[in-house]
Symmetry: C2
Subunit: 308 residues, 2 copies
Amino acid sequence: MFERVALIGLGLIGSSLSHAMRREGLCRHIAGHAKTAKTRDKAVELGLVDSIHATAKDAVAGADLVILCVPVGANAAVAAEIGPHIAPGAIVTDVGSVKAAVIRDVTPHLPQGVHFVPAHPVAGTEHTGPDSGFAELFDDRWCILTPPAGTNADAVARLKAFWEACGSHVEVMDADHHDLVLAITSHIPHLIAYNIVATAAHLETVTESEVIKFAAGGFRDFTRIAASDPVMWRDVFLNNKQAVLEMLARFNEDLTALQRAIRYGDGEMLLELFTRTRAIRRGIIEAGQETPAPDFGRRGPKAPDGAE
Amino acid sequence: MFERVALIGLGLIGSSLSHAMRREGLCRHIAGHAKTAKTRDKAVELGLVDSIHATAKDAVAGADLVILCVPVGANAAVAAEIGPHIAPGAIVTDVGSVKAAVIRDVTPHLPQGVHFVPAHPVAGTEHTGPDSGFAELFDDRWCILTPPAGTNADAVARLKAFWEACGSHVEVMDADHHDLVLAITSHIPHLIAYNIVATAAHLETVTESEVIKFAAGGFRDFTRIAASDPVMWRDVFLNNKQAVLEMLARFNEDLTALQRAIRYGDGEMLLELFTRTRAIRRGIIEAGQETPAPDFGRRGPKAPDGAE
């Protein structure tokens, strides 16, 4: 499908893309770059790349597909570095969780004749680094493309086919709409998960040991996404400020109404709301985006380490 | 360990207790009661009980252990009904997620010589009903006993041994402290999960179909606990009002600080907070209360239905 793919960044998404491309035979050569020598060495050891490069600009030379797999705040500098070295006609894409800011940061650095097609695979785990990747990460997940008006249609079609080959469904939408949708389905969930974990850690009346012991009451579900990569998430919030603040205002407004219902003992309001929310989960399970197994099918603490 | 155990309520916890007692041989006879004929029939069909009773007062006759497994708001009426029919010397306990209110509601109805030892197994899934129970639910989880001052020490010791035999670790604490600890580790997580799912369902700018499709970005983790039993959770919030409002105030205060950091682009504050929260998850995994497998070890959507 491609001759030479450059992966700029070899964390969870970059390494998973390598596995998925190998599984499907999507390119002849994977050229990789990571910022640290430790990650580069690990990537070679794991066989993630056919060639490893200490600089991003060396990695992109001769590539017909360049995939930026770095935190969204790093895109501007990477684009400035690689811009002059990208082969004419190549497709450049990214995997960032915000899209308007990425278009703003990357586009100015790319030469004429290079096609930028922003992308966001809505998939991930709480783990990070080159050894956290796996080929199945994108299977049955959605990848959203947000090509600006005027983007080469053939380049969009080729990237769509690439993500479908990686196992994903593909949807094309406007970057601003993407940022709003992801604010509520991903960014606000992460923000409130980080927040409640931090709140629990700061209480004077409840010890950290108690929080840990009794986490099975619900708290532990939040700690998973609150263990996600801190740099990646800092960059998401700094680069999707408007949509996040808008959705947060809605969340707060609704939470205030719930708080008031509790204060005044309005059981009917609580029951009605708690009943309605079940339907959304059913929809997510039916759409194949979640498992119906109790407790996510969590394996118990007695399961052997590293069991699949 | 006991001759005759009465299970009042045969939902997730009641049915799981039946399986755990059978597994460990903890009693000779399980007498069950559920409010609806449908649940009673199902309980008989599943072999959860040795005798089934249309009224709670019939179920408790002759029992030396009575376990109230009903939503906490139902305890007062059940206690009033069964009080006169409980055998002298019997132990009465419950499984409710709030404890001060349960003590307030149950104690006045119990005769002299009956020992009330309130308990809360911190374990559950998002599923409900007599067919949702399983013997392993309590394995390696914590069960908190909150006996009021003056409770018979032998009764407390017997109930502690009972829960340990069911696979749990047991901690004894004051009811008010329990309600505070669970407010942050369980009640607030459920409240904000219910809230964000409701918020997402109400947006004008993002469709429900988009919320469902792109739930893998983090949102779906919240929908699990927002699919928990609505009546149970209504009762929890109505009966732990003070502690929930206190913890919610702390959560809101911290969230406002995060919101402000986003508005003013304070990346350092965000990075520092997002880094700290990882430690708590590590603690929960090390304490055996969570799985380290990525994504909770979720089985993919392609896994066969009902796979264990």
